[in-house]
Symmetry: C2
Subunit: 277 residues, 2 copies
């Protein structure tokens, strides 16, 4: 790379850091990349850090010493996340979203990459300190959420399949009972997709009683892996606590009321914004 002026270097460094979240970059690497003294690089990083933190883009953590460097941790300020999710809740309350059986149509929202990025950054902000190795979801609608969170956490993704495909190689399958419909279903995960004793973050788009997520937890046991966190985009609040299979999770929105007759839907921000955990 050719030697840049400070102004150009700030632009390039900002791009470099934003595309490498959670990666430790040594001052030496930056000094070589920009053919500049470490003292100049440190000054640049101080400017970037201030903007990132003031604007709620994330933290820039500096590690001192010979093995030192800098690490960009994407964040989403909770007050701004709440503001964003309040808008999403209003959209989810549109009566035309109501489907037969009391389900809510949200495929269009899950198809908006910019919204997925925002939600991914919220999950990244909620789970950044959980020491996670890999993110897991089940096909199909949780996939964009899992990848968006993974992008900001710099982690790989593994997708649990509803059926076993030849293109996945040998797999472990389990049966589980869907909490709300009480039907027995199957899910499977490729053997080579998950290392033993991994710490796993489970992400999904919707949770009712939690049967599907409990199925993923059971599947993880087969791999001797550990649940490091559970995050759902929307949870149904129409489940009483006894019926709920899972209690330790973060939700970004909560469907509190669906009236099939009047087509009135109420969606509120999820427990992430209210619980003290």
């Amino acid at each position: 790379m050719k030697k840049l002026k400070r102004s150009a270097r700030l632009v390039e460094m900002t791009h470099y850091l934003l595309t490498r979240p959670h990666a430790l970059i040594s001052l030496t690497a930056f000094a070589e990349r920009y053919q500049s003294a470490k003292s100049s690089i440190s000054e640049d990083l101080a400017i970037i850090k201030e903007v990132f933190e003031d604007e709620g883009i994330g933290d820039l953590n500096t590690l001192a010493g010979a093995a030192g460097g800098v690490r960009f941790i994407p964040k989403y300020r909770k007050d701004r996340a709440l503001e964003k999710m309040a808008g999403v809740c209003r959209e989810l309350e549109q009566p035309e979203r109501l489907l037969p059986g009391g389900y809510l149509y949200m495929t269009d929202l899950l198809g908006e990459p910019r919204l997925m990025q925002e939600v991914g950054r919220m999950f990244a902000s909620a789970f950044f300190d959980r020491n996670i190795d890999i993110i897991m979801t089940v096909e199909t609608k949780g996939i964009p959420l899992a990848y968006a969170a993974a992008q900001f956490l710099n982690l790989p993704v593994v997708v649990v399949r509803r059926d076993h495909k030849v293109t996945e190689g040998s797999a472990v399958s389990i049966n589980y009972v869907s909490g709300s419909t009480k039907r027995i279903q199957t899910m499977s995960l490729t053997r080579r997709a998950l290392k033993e004793e991994s710490r796993v973050l489970i992400i999904d788009d919707f949770m009712k009683a939690g049967g599907t997520i409990q199925g993923m937890v059971d599947l993880l046991h087969e791999f001797r892996a550990v649940v490091a966190g559970v995050g759902v985009f929307v949870e149904s609040g129409e489940v009483d606590n006894e019926e709920r299979l899972l209690h330790d999770y973060i939700s970004l929105a909560r469907l509190t009321e669906v009236d099939l007759r009047t087509r009135h839907i109420t969606v509120q921000p999820g427990n992430y914004f209210y619980d003290s955990k």
Copy 2:
């Protein structure tokens, strides 16, 4: 937003532009955001433009006049994309990827968000001028590729399902014949997911004879929508031209040889890097 010095403003503007690809941002909006004169904003943009173009991050197109502004078009320099894909091809050639039936295990690569981002930027670079309204893929493994391309093209994504789900509302289903296995399969798409006469970019992870993609094309006809482009991550070169159902597509890699006995696999960069289209 508080008034920033030029150095801090450059950092903030870089982040602002990078997270809003293909959006037209007026100079007035920037001038108000940063409480700065348009002349200062123009100077900042000139610096950012030079870095983005020199480093192959993308183009910054300036539109003059009253309705003018600036638009960030993410790009991937073809020589660098080829270098990246050559490395991916070496990874795909590892003998342990060979599965029964001559399939190739690539779930791990598709689970790496950073690689998906790179591939998404390649697709965005290949299709940025096709006047696309929406990106379509079929579950499951094409989904991260479609979202990554969508992120850089600032477009929504629609996912074709293998079966019809209650959470999707009313849908159009078609039967199609898988080109390689000759089996009849079903795919369906929610009615409300696609506007009539949309221009659609089809993205998928793997193409053999092209039966699945041809199925998506047929499905689009039901919506009176138009195919604006087809992009696949890996195509199988083990199909002769007569057997191939689809001819106008871009591939990033090409599986040219699979020897089940010696477990020798050959993968080369795809037609994107060689064809003159």
